[in-house]
């Protein structure tokens, strides 16, 4: 099955080729994550005309421009709020949000927890590279302890956020995390998120090679991606939670799943009932 769609899936069918090559640095994991997203979209046979991608500001935010769909590159931290309006107003669209760790968890943290709570059908893809890459490499809410960034010259002293635990606690219907190392599994995870009837939060641990990697002496792009394998332990099994090798790394896999009612449908049902009653 995997082999079949891999042969069938040409990422270029989903890209705005006139925008390529993209602006990401060499070796940036975001490109790999974008492929996984587009592959998942391909596998599900989603109509590009009915697909809306909303993205925020930052390296991850720029990705929407490369997708051949209805794309919206909005303000910093707010893509979930824009997407909420879009999805509520247009339930016929499939709305995907692409956001980064700073966009989603720092400036947009409030929107994340409420999107999880509200459980509107949205797929939120958070690309976590542990750093504010576009602004030159400042510490972010997910930067691991002791890491060097331009604003943590002493090494990061703040504990880092576990975004999936946050999303789970806030009530997200689907929560998963994967690394870019294992593309087919990442694709399957995103696919499961896209198929989830409510709010789905998918975190992708993605390498920032040029800024974060360099600052922390993490080697070349390939060394960084190999580190995902040796430290984080990605496996090919979608339905298992993989505990990482490195002590402060976070588990991967599908971390939470529930069948809470989807908000948009619930609202429309209640409205129809009220109309019928009056």
């Amino acid at each position: 099955m995997l082999i079949d769609t891999a042969a069938d899936f040409d990422v270029r069918d989903y890209l705005r080729k006139e925008m390529m090559p993209h602006f990401l640095c060499p070796g940036c994991g975001h490109g790999i994550a974008l492929r996984a997203l587009l592959w998942a979209i391909h596998d599900l046979g989603l109509d590009k005309d009915r697909l809306a991608v909303v993205s925020g500001i930052g390296c991850a935010g720029r990705l929407s421009a490369y997708i051949d769909a209805n794309t919206f590159h909005v303000t910093h931290g707010r893509p979930l709020a824009y997407a909420t309006g879009l999805a509520l107003a247009r339930p016929d669209l499939h709305v995907v949000v692409i956001t980064g760790d700073g966009d989603c968890l720092a400036i947009g943290g409030n929107h994340l927890i409420h999107a999880c709570r509200r459980n509107l059908k949205l797929t939120c893809l958070m690309l976590n590279n542990e750093v504010y890459g576009m602004t030159g490499g400042q510490v972010s809410p997910t930067t691991s302890e002791t890491r060097l960034t331009t604003t943590t010259p002493l090494g990061n002293q703040e504990p880092h956020f576990d975004a999936c635990a946050l999303a789970t606690a806030a009530g997200a219907g689907f929560v998963g995390r994967e690394v870019t190392h294992h593309v087919p599994k990442l694709k399957e995870l995103i696919k499961a998120g896209l198929e989830h009837p409510g709010f789905a939060f998918v975190e992708v641990q993605s390498d920032c090679t040029e800024i974060f990697g360099r600052k922390n002496d993490m080697g070349s792009s390939s060394e960084m991606i190999m580190r995902q394998k040796s430290e984080i332990r990605p496996s090919a099994y979608l339905d298992t939670v993989d505990t990482p090798f490195r002590s402060n790394a976070l588990p991967t896999g599908i971390l939470a799943r529930n069948d809470r009612p989807e908000y948009g449908a619930t609202y429309r049902r209640a409205a129809a009932a009220r109309k019928g009653a009056s």
């Binding site: 390529m20 090559p21 990401l24 070796g27 090679t209 792009s221």
Partner: protein, 321 residues
């Protein structure tokens, strides 16, 4: 299509079938369960241990696992009797060897009691990465080539059962180990009710039904096998792969999109890519390329596309049939 295969029945004249020996006063009864990580070896041994304990036996169980959660070799010794001294079974003392994977089963065969040991083995083959001589699909493997027919010549009583297929048909591939438990139950004198109660206690609530069915099928399969003439031919089943079809791998590399990050070069399992003088990825050793697509998937710049040139034609043939 992948039917359970070979049976070697015990000689009806044999005076002491191991199944009758559970109440041996002196020696402990020894069951060795083997497989690879993730298959549920430990579960099989725990159920057996629990059951034996509930029947009043002293039980010792020891295992080696955790070195690889998935894919690595795992084995578990279960010994029970009136007194059990050592937790491990000496070589050649195993009464019943239960193997959840074919090659693992073969590997542990020398532990089986000569002449009387019972061998119950899943025909499931999990080929470890290091057994690959060449990554090109269809290449020869450094994996056991013995067929079940060859194997049975070494042992007193042997069952090669495609438990994985049976479990799959029940809708839960993971219940293969319970199919083998069912098979194992026919060789011990505990009552079916006790077996089933123990299994039900052990598995997650929502899978009780499927696991009990798996247990019954495993048990039923052995019972049926004992009453039928042994099959002679027993080919080991193998999932067909695209490697069976002839195709040519071609890499389409877009030099304008390539950013020279070296991920494809370093991550290629065959090391057949390199950066050329312009620091653009190129396929240096096309004959080594297996078409695994890792370079395509991991290229952050969408610069590589892997074409399996005749794959389409093969697929079309398949459709035409």
């Amino acid at each position: 299509m992948r039917d359970p295969v070979t049976t070697v029945r015990p000689d009806p004249a044999s005076p002491d079938s191991p199944a009758l020996k559970a109440d041996r006063a002196d020696d402990a009864f020894n069951v060795l369960i083997v497989g690879v990580g993730g298959q549920g070896v430990i579960m099989v041994s725990k159920v057996l241990a629990l059951l034996a304990q509930s029947q009043g036996f002293e039980v010792k169980q020891s295992e080696v696992h955790g070195m690889a959660k998935r894919g690595g070799s795992v084995f578990s010794h279960v010994r029970f009797g009136k007194r059990v001294w050592s937790p491990t079974i000496p070589k050649g003392d195993v009464d019943i060897l239960v193997a959840l994977e074919w090659a693992e089963g073969l590997r542990w065969l020398p532990f089986l009691k000569a002449g009387t040991g019972i061998f119950i083995c899943d025909t499931k083959r999990i080929v470890p990465p290091f057994a690959c001589l060449n990554r090109r699909p269809g290449a020869p493997l450094r994996y056991s080539k013995e067929t079940p027919t060859e194997v049975v010549t070494h042992v007193g009583e042997a069952y090669a059962i495609d438990a994985t297929d049976m479990a799959e048909k029940l809708g839960n591939e993971r219940a293969a180990n319970v199919v083998l438990l069912g098979a194992l139950s026919t060789a011990l004198e505990f009552s079916t009710t006790d077996w089933e109660r123990t299994v039900a206690e052990f598995v997650p609530k929502k899978t009780v039904a499927v696991n009990l069915e798996a247990f019954r099928r495993g048990r039923g399969w052995i019972e049926e096998a004992r009453n039928t003439t042994p099959a002679v031919e027993a080919p080991v089943t193998r999932t067909p792969t695209p490697a069976d079809a002839a195709y040519r791998v071609r890499l389409e590399i877009n030099p304008v999109w390539c950013k020279s990050c070296d991920i494809c070069v370093k991550m290629c399992p065959e090391h057949c890519l390199r950066l050329n003088a312009d620091r653009i990825a190129e396929l240096a050793e096309p004959e080594r390329c297996t078409g695994c697509r890792l370079c395509e998937w991991l290229c952050p710049d969408f610069a590589i596309r892997v074409h399996l040139d005749s794959a389409g034609a093969v697929a079309q043939q398949g459709l035409a049939q």
